[in-house]
């Protein structure tokens, strides 16, 4: 590498890291605040050097946070499983042995994902009320399934299209049934795709707030709702707030980082690889 190229690499690296620092800083600050004591978290000038303490994390975890966390886990994992169970056969019918007008069907699925949440909130609320599903985690499981199913179908289809068609021809000559094809050929071959799809679904359902805040109140409230209780609070509570925000964000942050390579594919419904 020439000296000029080397110098420009250093220069651009510095610029790049500055930008990344600005974007990452709020996350870093959230972590730091969570490990402080309340007086340290609210001090002026801000405390930079301190002995980290787990006190606030312990307080959040021993307090009323766990039920919210568990509700989030049920809603996200439950809906993700439903997406896989319903979505994989549908993706098969759109990729391997396509139905007629499969393009229209794909179009239909994705158009429902773009229907604003606002358009269906009121009827879903009334429906949940009449079915005794208000403040019931089942309502969120069912709704998150609807939100993620179009995405799941598109993504799984894009993974299925990558399987060589000969494999299915061969299996069919051997007289394999649909179940056999799904379980013996599809699932093993697109295991990474199933994992990526699950992680994307988890990300969307874990962070969901609009339906959660309107359809649940106490029993079925999810992690984002726990954070709402901090809006009105006054006084010294920043360390606790930061610890709670860190814990609430952790699953998705980890899932997103693990699925980094697949994230882009998931966000663009499989269009960009």
């Amino acid at each position: 590498m020439s000296e000029v190229a080397g110098r420009s690499k250093v220069l651009w690296s510095i610029v790049g890291w500055l930008v990344v620092f600005v974007f990452f800083f709020p996350v870093l600050w959230m972590w730091l605040e969570g490990f402080k004591t309340e007086p340290q978290a609210a001090s002026t000038p801000p405390t930079i050097l301190f002995v980290p303490t787990l006190a606030e994390f312990q307080e959040v975890l021993s307090g009323d946070f766990p039920p919210f966390f568990i509700n989030s886990a049920i809603a996200s994992i439950g809906s993700t499983l439903l997406v896989l169970v319903l979505g994989l056969p549908a993706a098969y019918a759109l990729a391997i042995r396509p139905v007629k007008r499969s393009r229209d069907v794909l179009f239909f699925f994705i158009s429902t994902r773009f229907l604003p949440f606002a358009a269906s909130l009121v009827p879903l609320y009334l429906l949940a009320r009449d079915l005794q599903l208000l403040d019931n985690i089942l309502a969120l499981v069912l709704i998150y399934t609807t939100i993620n199913l179009p995405l799941g179908v598109w993504l799984l289809r894009s993974f299925l299209l990558e399987i060589p068609h000969d494999l299915f021809e061969a299996a069919r000559v051997d007289g394999a049934s649909f179940h056999h094809e799904i379980l013996r050929i599809v699932v093993p071959l697109i295991a990474p795709g199933l994992a990526a799809t699950s992680l994307i679904c988890l990300i969307f359902s874990w962070n969901e707030f609009f339906y959660a805040v309107n359809l649940t109140s106490s029993v079925a409230a999810t992690a984002p709702l726990f954070l709402v209780s901090f809006i009105s609070g006054r006084g010294l509570f920043y360390a606790k707030l930061a610890a709670a925000a860190t814990l609430a964000s952790l699953p998705v942050l980890l899932a997103g980082w693990i699925a980094q390579r697949q994230l882009i594919r998931g966000l663009t419904m499989g269009a960009v690889k």
Partner: protein, 300 residues
Amino acid sequence: MRASAAAAFSRDAWARRLPLLPAFIYVFLVTQVPFVLTIYYSFFSWNLLKPGSFQFAGLENYSALLTNESIRTAIWNTVLLTLAVIGFSVVIGLGVAVLLNSEVFGKGLMRTLMIAPFLIMPTAGALIWKDTLLNPLFGLLPYLLTPVGLGRVDIVNQFPMVTVVAVEVWRWTPFMMLIILAGLQSQNPEVLEAARVDGANAFQAFRRITLPLVRPFIELGALLGSLFVVQTFDSIFMLTFGGPGEDTTNIPFLLYLVAFQGFSIGQASAIGVVAVIITTIVATFALRTLFSIFQIEARR
């Protein structure tokens, strides 16, 4: 003979359709039925707190929307918020993507850290911004701005829309960056090299070769992003609760207020219909771009 062939054909068609049906019926029921109900309710006057108040109102809810100051403010806020957020995040995202696609130290780690704002729970991110970074008394930013004479300003209250836009740009820039970076990485480096050899400088090469190539990716990012940003609710709820006044009330937040603070189901439903109309316009363009990228990818 012919009849049995037709029967076999239709049996095959149904065998193909069967795996699709559960998902199709499920999505159809949970999205289309409520949507039709929303349209239905929008023609009624109905206050949830007043039993027996359910009565046909014709176009009253819609004519109320036309004369209502709140809905006009909300539409304007929605448009402003979406355009500002998408505009800034695309430009910054493009810049970061170009940086991450060039020769820099620690690319992988940069990318990993950069996507964090997109993954952080929006309610959590908004709280962190509001309470630990922007709070006039204890926040970090007012403290840092004090020497420049800007300190102790209540940023969230004085510049509510700027705050919401900033937090959303922080969240959506990584999204744009990821999509544009994927576009940049699909570029054949030899083409750029050839342009260099032909005497094009870096800027010319970027404008003439790279930019046209990543344009569909930028469009896709902008359109998909706007479908999400139009629905912004979490950060408004946490940062400003639509205020002060109605300064940051967008359509989803107005619907929330009308439906769950005012309990006017008919009025809220009419707002929902307006939201669908606006979204459909954007979505039509988004889907067209999505399909064109599919075709580009398929050709490769």
